[in-house]
Symmetry: C2
Subunit: 381 residues, 2 copies
């Protein structure tokens, strides 16, 4: 099924409002795609255009109120939201600021307006508009939302998990077809483009993210666009896909040896598999994100901590990466319904790295795989 029943949005909103009451927030102001969509179901690629701001207000009671450019009015009115206020954007004189100010004055006359303010959040509106808004409201700043939105979004409903699982299955079918596109002599950039085509062919709605790494003894760069250098016999090739199905990501990677795998690489690969297994065993409800990190890091480095990637996994959902982070200092408690990646990495002797990543949902009895089981040995193309 595409989308969600309205009851899903009702529940999300009711949970937010219960937490808002604890903090005496009269409104939460949302400005980013993932947050706006979470409470409305408003799904569009139109956010790719940075020209227009979009606002959603969660009141203390009742349905959220949308204050958005008129180009999105019809689509927003097709969601469960009733109160959709629009202006014709862009407007050089008053680009929605008065409309937003009036809505907030009406909904939160006491000025107790919060907005997501912690890690992985930002206020997606021009600073000039923000300062005008504060002046209109007679307040000095928006309040931090006490991580209400982040904490709600971290725990997925079964319907959300099903979409992530579906996205993982699409990627799995694309990975099974790697032999069609990758072998010695093929330029890396061609593999990069054609893997995105395989993802689309297997049912991805779109492919916002694909990282690629290649090298003989691990890869040194996993964030650049692919260059035109051909794959060579003996290379290890890594593809890390973030594809979208119905607004939800998968985020996992697969490694392949081209022709044959170096012995050191094979051994590293088996270490990654052991680290993953340690993560799975540690990832019970009630454990902390840092516990999972420590279990994996013990296998990878003997507990010495890791390198520049910064973490050994993270949440995912409507965004490619969400919180929590699997690092030594993130003590977020795992709860049923959280979806996380386990992403162990190992540095080889020449400084190259090998990464493995899979996706899991936290179930009552521990981590349940959403991505398919990795091969026992490093696959060879």
């Amino acid at each position: 099924m595409r989308g969600f029943n309205n009851s899903e949005f009702e529940q999300r909103t009711a949970k937010a409002q219960a937490l808002m009451a604890e903090h005496q927030f009269s409104a939460i102001l949302l400005t980013n795609e993932a947050d706006v969509r979470y409470f409305t179901g408003y799904l569009t690629r139109f956010w790719e255009s940075p020209c227009r701001p979009w606002y959603l207000i969660i009141p203390a009671a009742g349905k959220p109120v949308a204050v958005i450019p008129s180009i999105g009015g019809a689509l927003m009115r097709s969601t469960w939201i009733d109160d959709v206020r629009t202006w014709r954007a862009p407007d050089m004189q008053d680009d929605g600021v008065t409309l937003l100010s009036q809505a907030l004055q009406q909904i939160a006359p006491d000025g107790r307006i919060a907005t997501p303010s912690g890690m992985q959040s930002w206020l997606r509106m021009p600073q000039n508009y923000y300062h005008q808004l504060l002046a209109n409201l007679g307040i000095s700043k928006l309040l931090c939302d006490a991580n209400i939105v982040r904490d709600l979004r971290m725990v997925k409903s079964p319907e959300e998990v099903a979409k992530i699982r579906h996205a993982c299955q699409i990627a799995a079918r694309a990975f099974e077809r790697m032999g069609e596109i990758a072998k010695a002599g093929v330029p890396l950039s061609k593999v990069w483009r054609e893997f995105q085509m395989l993802c689309l062919d297997e049912g991805a709605d779109w492919v916002p993210y694909l990282s690629i790494g290649v090298g003989e003894l691990g890869y040194t760069d996993v964030i650049s666009p692919a260059g035109d250098t051909p794959l060579r016999e003996g290379d290890i090739l890594m593809l890390d896909t973030g594809l979208i199905y119905d607004g939800y990501f998968c985020d996992y990677c697969r490694n392949f040896a081209i022709g044959h795998g170096d012995k050191q690489v094979q051994e590293a690969w088996h270490t990654l598999m052991r680290a993953t297994q340690a993560g799975i065993e540690a990832g019970k409800p009630g454990a902390k994100a840092s516990d999972v990190f420590k279990a994996m890091d013990e296998v990878l480095t003997g507990g010495k901590g890791i390198g520049d990637t910064g973490r050994l996994g993270h949440g995912l959902g409507t965004q490619l990466t969400e919180l929590p982070s699997l690092i030594a200092t993130d003590h977020t408690i795992l709860q049923e319904g959280m979806v996380i990646t386990l992403e162990p990495s190992i540095v080889l002797t020449d400084g190259g790295v090998i990464v493995h990543e899979d996706n899991y949902v936290v179930a009552a009895n521990g981590l349940q795989a959403l991505s398919p089981a990795a091969a026992t040995d490093l696959p060879i193309l």
Copy 2:
């Protein structure tokens, strides 16, 4: 050629610094992908992960200084930037705020730090970090950058224009192959996915944006993901692509009649072509964005103004949509090197809309097309 010579970044930085001197800014702080890339060449899809903030500081003199997560350190050091300061992100205690504060205290001890603050900008960092930064610096807010960055980015170098032209040519080859994927009976969602595959097959690095519209007498929704309804004989189908080549977008659309085109649709199509021609004739250097709007709107509505889409074209480049906006109130003066879209739309009698869009660079003698000439008549599939 991929990327740019360093001289390009030197020139961009020197121009920014000349303008900064006029405003007595000691630093400009940049936090968004397009702005950071503009001054560094730092190109990666890793921004898809919202977890980490990234900072670039333009000082009053000398090269920009990067303050970024260590995962990006190696790639940033491969650009022309020398001073790359990193922290291991995410960090639950101090996620780069102290490092950024120290850099800004050193570069701008007078606290005259500006940041893009107008339309189409936002501060991509958590509000909590922002307030901590202000406290560390002992200032009450960042200054508005007087649109320095926006104004520089609006005028493209010949090398930038070449990349946009290349992106347009990739899309053109994909549009020529529409007959392979679209005909009556094919679900719209399949056309949507397969057109993205065509773009990749023809050389797109990735496809961040593809909007689709379909209907008998125009389309009523151009921002939703495609549904599974099959194309029907007599439909008009519109695809609007924003694909990426080497970090630069094209953004234009094509319409196709499935089997045959309705007479009213055909007439509307010819009106769109006439409006485009009027826009081309008005789009000389020295003319205002609003002049181009008025010339097109005269053809489309007799000068009555337009509907909810809000504008009849816009800038493009490293972002799908950039400023200026072709609206009645945007009086930005067209300069050689600006790249814009002309995007006339017309509402049919049943309320459906038809849109046409092409891409142009402002040359000495007027608008020069970057996307290929549209067909004389509405193409039929």
